[in-house]
């Protein structure tokens, strides 16, 4: 009874702290919303219309190509916002400047003499001679994802067009289709299904670092811990109360996130499934242990805060919470590999059938467990030595 | 005629319906320690902050070194040293740097080593402010108040929250400042502090000065040699019989205080009365009157009521 009462007080003290309340309960929700606004558009690009400038020539072939682009620029589902200009040096330079300023996404330039070269190519081909192929120039903008997407689209269109030309000449083409199979994810990719378990890990991680690591250090530094230890309450009861209070907190966090993921973003993940509950529990134990470890190594609140902040971002981002990271270069891959979050995130996603884990399932269990054992042993030793 | 360095007349500051300072007047003699004594919320800090220039009075006159001013401005601030009730300094500066920074602000200043010696922080000169103990921080705050070698020092509850040893140290510093001819204006709710340090005490309550004088005469005004203090349940019958002994009953702490010249017979009377009314008497103390009693007899409340 006493234990539960103390646990209530410990929970209240965190929930009423404005900073803790914000970062542990409100912020994860804001973050989930932000991520849902940004990432689905990166992974599942919807209809996009590219601004394209077509620098044309007078000639039969140029006009054929021009017509193809025109056709793709009308209607509701048009691919291009097209502007067709004569190919002059002045126009080209102007358009390149526009491209640089991101006013347009791509320039397709039919160079001078293109039509003559094409005609030449076909005539020589009839005679059985292979002429050098005429060139179409394309200008794209570096570091710009729209421009590069536009290029791929145009390239694909021109490749198809080329096949049509070849057919016209009378050759028989192989009908080759192409398809993509993505591995690493299972079935169709849905970012909410991907991110929901990630955010759950994130909130537990935040609670581990700040709600336990920093909070416990603060209890220690402010003398509250000592104050509790000098009462008749056994040490073990305090520890149990503290753990209960953190479980309250984590349950509240996970429930909030789950409600939003389920009802606002319609995730198909079932939070009551065995694999979700199992991995979530492992996450809670592992990242809480990390919090206890942190509290036992830091001398005061300011050092605990510094350690938490330094650990916070690399572990978060390189644990694959927000986007898969297994393919990063070795310069930072070691951070991915020693990071318990990596295994927790891969494990839970594999178990839920969202994304295949690059690590065998047993590894996703063993590494977090090793972390738990290490952290708890270390904390236990410190605890014994300090007698606090 | 005494030389008054500061005179305040009919000072008023209202915050809506709250009369924080309600017509306060006093005069401070040069070279003296002048104390505003009163419980929390009596208006001491508001009064002192008006004279420090932090607040603008609604009404009233301030005569600062013989010159009448509406409000305290930068010219006056050069001559005063202030220790605020709650001062937070920049945590990542050392003691010496903090003193040096404030020293720069003033045209006239003391040597830093001299100040460090007076506040006994020589060995902490290069310690960050954030690493100081409560007492050390308070001494530094007083050190800052004296860095410009001021004529008047305003110390707002300089010993609140300090342990007895640290409080004693602070008192020593204040007495040394007084020896150097400084005028000190002090607020406190510790009657021992007021009694020990002050040359002149103004007792404040509800924004008004309800009594002033030097501590000895204030106590003498109670006109009794000894006090008997007991813990007892309130009983109107019993109080009636004791009327002659000017009983003061502090209902919050259930303490009855009687003034007497004859300890023996008063004690006998008290015991008899309690037996008659079948009341239990506990914790009998016989002592000399102090400023606390002055306040209690004036207001019926204890100075430490809120604490």
């Amino acid at each position: 009874m006493k234990i539960v009462k103390l646990a209530n007080y410990l929970f209240n003290s965190t929930a009423r702290d404005r900073s803790d309340f914000f970062w542990l309960l409100v912020f994860p929700i804001i973050l989930l919303v932000i991520l849902m606004l940004i990432f689905p558009s990166l992974y599942e690009p919807k209809e996009v219309t590219f601004s394209l400038t077509f620098l044309s020539q007078n000639g039969m072939f140029s006009e054929i190509i021009e017509r193809v682009f025109k056709e793709l620029s009308i209607g509701k589902h048009k691919i291009f916002r097209l502007s067709i200009l004569r190919n002059t040096e002045e126009n080209l330079n102007n358009e390149i400047e526009k491209l640089r300023r991101r006013n347009i996404d791509l320039i397709v330039e039919i160079p001078e003499g293109f039509d003559a070269q094409m005609l030449n190519w076909f005539m020589l081909n009839n005679l059985g001679v292979t002429a050098s192929s005429p060139t179409i120039n394309i200008y794209s903008l570096k570091h710009n994802i729209s421009s590069e997407s536009a290029y791929l689209t145009v390239k694909n269109i021109l490749q198809k067009l080329e096949l049509e030309f070849i057919k016209k000449v009378g050759y028989k083409l192989r009908e080759v289709e192409s398809e993509i199979e993505l591995i690493g994810i299972k079935s169709t990719f849905s970012y909410i299904d991907f991110i929901y378990p990630g955010i759950v890990i994130f909130v537990v991680f935040m609670t581990g670092l700040f709600g336990i690591g920093l909070h416990l250090t603060w209890l220690k530094e402010s003398g509250i811990l000592k104050r509790i230890m000098v009462t008749s309450l056994p040490k073990s009861s305090f520890i149990i109360s503290y753990i209960i209070s953190r479980i309250y907190l984590i349950m509240l966090q996970i429930t909030l996130i789950s409600l939003i993921a389920k009802f606002l973003f319609k995730t198909t993940v079932n939070p009551l499934s065995l694999s979700f509950i199992g991995y979530t529990s492992l996450t809670v134990i592992c990242l809480s242990s990390l919090g206890f470890f942190l509290a036992s190594v830091s001398k005061n609140v300011s050092s605990a805060n510094a350690i938490s902040q330094i650990l916070n971002f690399p572990l978060q981002f390189l644990g694959g919470i927000y986007f898969p990271v297994s393919g990063v270069p070795w310069a930072i891959r070691w951070l991915v590999l020693i990071n318990p979050i990596t295994y927790l995130a891969s494990g839970i996603r594999d178990a839920l059938g969202i994304m295949e884990s690059p690590y065998p399932l047993y590894v996703t269990l063993i590494v977090p467990m090793a972390w738990i054992i290490f952290c708890l042993l270390f904390t236990y030793r410190r605890f014994k030595l300090e007698e606090v | 005629m005494a030389n008054f360095i500061l005179e305040v007349e009919n000072l008023k500051k209202y915050y809506g319906p709250v009369k924080a300072v309600d017509g306060v007047s006093f005069k401070v003699k040069q070279g003296s320690i002048f104390t505003l004594l009163g419980p929390n919320g009596a208006g001491k800090t508001t009064t002192i902050e008006i004279i420090e220039g932090l607040r603008i009075p609604d009404e009233g006159k301030i005569i600062f070194m013989g010159e009448e001013i509406n409000r305290v401005g930068n010219k006056q601030k050069e001559y005063i040293g202030v220790s605020l009730q709650e001062t937070n300094l920049i945590p990542y500066l050392t003691v010496k740097e903090t003193l040096d920074m404030f020293k720069t602000i003033f045209p006239r200043s003391l040597d830093i080593t001299e100040v460090l010696r007076m506040i006994s922080l020589e060995d902490k000169a290069n310690t960050y402010v954030r690493d100081l103990s409560g007492g050390q921080k308070q001494r530094l705050v007083i050190g800052l108040a004296m860095i410009n070698d001021p004529l008047i020092l305003f110390l707002d509850e300089p010993t609140t929250g300090l342990d007895p040893q640290a409080r004693r140290n602070t008192w020593d510093i204040l007495l040394e400042l007084k020896r150097k001819g400084k005028t000190i204006i002090l607020t406190t709710h510790y009657m021992e502090e007021a009694e020990f340090l002050s040359d002149w005490v103004c007792i404040m309550d509800h924004g008004k000065i309800i009594k002033e004088g030097d501590p000895k005469s204030l106590i003498r005004d109670l006109e009794k040699e000894s006090l008997i203090e007991v813990e007892v349940e309130a009983n109107s019958l019993m109080l009636e019989k004791l009327t002659l002994l000017e009983p003061v009953y502090d209902s919050k702490h259930k303490r009855l205080i009687l003034k007497t010249d004859d300890i023996l017979s008063t004690t006998e009377l008290l015991l008899r009365l309690s037996k008659e009314n079948s009341l239990q008497i506990k914790d009998v103390i016989i002592r000399q009157p102090n400023l606390e009693d002055v306040f209690l007899s004036l207001t019926g409340r204890s100075l430490r009521e809120e604490l």
Binding site: L42, P45, L141, K142, E148, R174, I180, G184 | -
Partner: protein, 353 residues
Amino acid sequence: MKIIWKLFLTTIKIFYRDRMTFFFTLIFPFIFVIIFGFVFGSGSSGENNKLLIGILSSDEELYKIVNSIEGLEVRRFDSIADIRQHILKNKLDAGILYENNKVKLILNFTTMQRNPFSRAIGDTIANHLAKSKTKIDKIISLNLNPIDPGEVVTTGLGYMVPGVVAISIFNGALFSMLSIFSYYKKRGVLKRFNVTPIRGYQFIIGMILGRFIVTFFSATVVLVFSQLIFRVQFNISWSLYLVTASTSILGMMAFGILISNIFAEPEVASNVGSLLMTVMIFFSGVYFPLDFLPKYLRIFGSFLPLGYVAKSIRIATGIENGSISSVLNISLIMTLIFFVLVFIFGNKIFKAE
């Protein structure tokens, strides 16, 4: 003048002693550029990332075709399972199978994330296969000219650096104003100064000047060190950098002053600051492209000042071409806002009640 100088020096000292500010202004931006640079950065800029493609050793025709395509490197495997396993473990970027006139591109999800255009490989190979029996290699050649947005040729990582400098400026400027106008005010530090004859403008100038220099220095350190660490070379116009960085700092400081005056509680103000930072990191187009975002979000993003700061620094470092006059206009606006706000709230700082 002496007072201003002293406060100026003091502010600089405090900055380097306070580990948290130091971390957020100097170290934090680096962490970000490393993480995002490695995860997202390499894809779009055509740097030395040849894609490793796995095919079955039995398919000789496919081997020839894939080998002839620029940017692809072929590895041969004995079984499909083997290819898949390698892809899953990120030892291969993709696999290609050809069977029954069907090209199947097996792609690792993380490869697609790093290089969204890897999806097009399948189409290209299908195109080659379609005409492989015709003796016609190609009719039309495509000649791609990637235009650098600026004078400087740089990698994706290099392109990101000005954004990181912007983050450093934002952090340094915003949080320093929060500490003066919110933390110092609430904790009574300002009150302590107010009982001395110091004048408001002396205090403000000294403090802000110190923070200004510190922030400018940090941002420049981030810029210079990023060049070294990521081996990118900018063509920095130092005079333009001086203008853009300085005015950006002032602009972000104005932001900080505003926040600390809206949210009186230092804790709340600092939380609001951190939240704003998160929103800016995501929506200002510094780390994540905004191109595919819904329109309302792109409009929202275009109102976030961090994007402008990043852009003007890109222009100053020669990574992006842009009109200098528009940069100067933005700079002027930010400076004006700063001076107006400092005048309004700075005057209030030492006012008696």
